[in-house]
């Protein structure tokens, strides 16, 4: 075996172990939740309340994640702002997306008798520059690996855990 061939094998080996170590074992969490209603819309002032409910599995990640909302199916790109009343959490809607940190401090926790959290309900306030209809997807994002969400809505199967409704 030539040195070149041997080096190539070592290189593939190193890349393979790097892939194994960097594997995103955090498979996107899938939900057993009601999908968002069709054609959610803001009121005439462009305002809406987006309720996000995190299940127990999703709650395990809140300390290390950011909440990202992605709006789709709008006629025009959405712009505006999003905030959580009562705490200093707000974000700017730009490019049909908004991301906020520290959201879990606003969790309205439902707990079991032993105090273990069951779900966290967040009522996010949305104010757009103009009225719009859209679909919305929520995801919990690992700040250090934004391409791969801890959890998101809109998929079905076993596990967790983000439910979104627009009111």
């Amino acid at each position: 075996m030539t040195r070149r061939a041997q080096a190539l094998r070592w290189l593939v080996l190193a890349f393979g172990f790097a892939t194994l170590c960097a594997t995103s074992a955090t498979q996107p969490a899938r939900i057993d939740a009601t999908p968002p209603p069709n054609e959610p819309a803001t009121d005439e002032q462009g305002r809406a309340t987006i309720r996000v409910i995190l299940s127990p599995t999703a709650l395990e990640t809140v300390d290390q994640s950011e909440l990202r909302l992605t709006f789709t199916d709008a006629e025009e790109p959405l712009e505006g702002r999003l905030w959580l009343p009562g705490i200093d959490v707000h974000g700017t809607v730009r490019g049909n997306q908004v991301q906020v940190t520290g959201y879990h401090r606003a969790c309205d926790l439902e707990t079991e008798e032993d105090g273990r959290p069951l779900t966290c309900t967040l009522d996010l306030q949305l104010a757009l520059s103009r009225p719009a209809t859209f679909q919305v997807e929520a995801a919990l994002i690992d700040a250090s690996n934004p391409g791969f969400p801890f959890a998101r809505n809109g998929e079905f199967g076993a596990g967790a855990n983000v439910q979104v409704t627009v009111r």
Binding site: W10, G16, A25, A158
Partner: protein, 164 residues
């Protein structure tokens, strides 16, 4: 036992393809969601991991040996089955992979100028339907058996034949 053949499966087109699929899928395709990318990654890792283990040992020792690859294939399939069906195994996997990734996250944090992060586990969604990917572990076994039955001829043998 031929040094020439040690780790040869690492550069087999099937393995290189599976490795590329695994990397691309984990860091790009999965962002699109859906059930398929998760399954593809599972199949790819079941194909690649046994070859990585077998290849590492062969390259380190300079000797060919199928036992490590076969053992790693069986172990990978067992782990895949357990973590998707048995909560304690899933928990152990989450902690174990979190520990494996910790040094890399730590180095990345240092490069960014942040402090060394605390250990955190990964999050795994148990999904019994992932068991459909288990036949993927037969691929490296098949490749290894094929390699054993069609061994590469040592260069000195070829030379001898030509001379004859």
């Amino acid at each position: 036992m031929r040094r020439d053949d040690a780790g040869a499966l690492l550069v087999h087109p099937v393995i290189l393809g599976a490795l590329a699929l695994w990397a691309v899928n984990d860091h790009w395709l999965k962002t699109f969601g859906g059930w398929l990318p998760g399954k593809l990654s599972d199949v790819a890792c079941l194909i690649v991991i046994p070859v990585l283990v077998g290849g590492a040992i062969e390259l380190a020792t300079g000797r060919r040996g199928s036992r490590w690859l076969f053992g790693a294939a069986a172990l990978a399939a067992l782990i895949m089955a357990l973590i998707n069906t048995w909560a304690p195994a899933a928990w152990a996997y989450e902690q174990g992979l979190g520990l494996m990734q910790w040094p890399f996250h730590g180095l990345a944090a240092l490069v960014r100028g942040d402090g060394w992060p605390g250990h955190r586990s990964v999050v795994l969604t148990m999904d019994a339907t992932d068991l459909v990917t288990l036949p993927g572990s037969l691929v490296p076994v098949w490749l290894e058996r094929r390699r054993s039955s069609h061994p590469a001829k040592p260069i000195c043998d070829r030379g001898t034949k030509r001379a004859a």
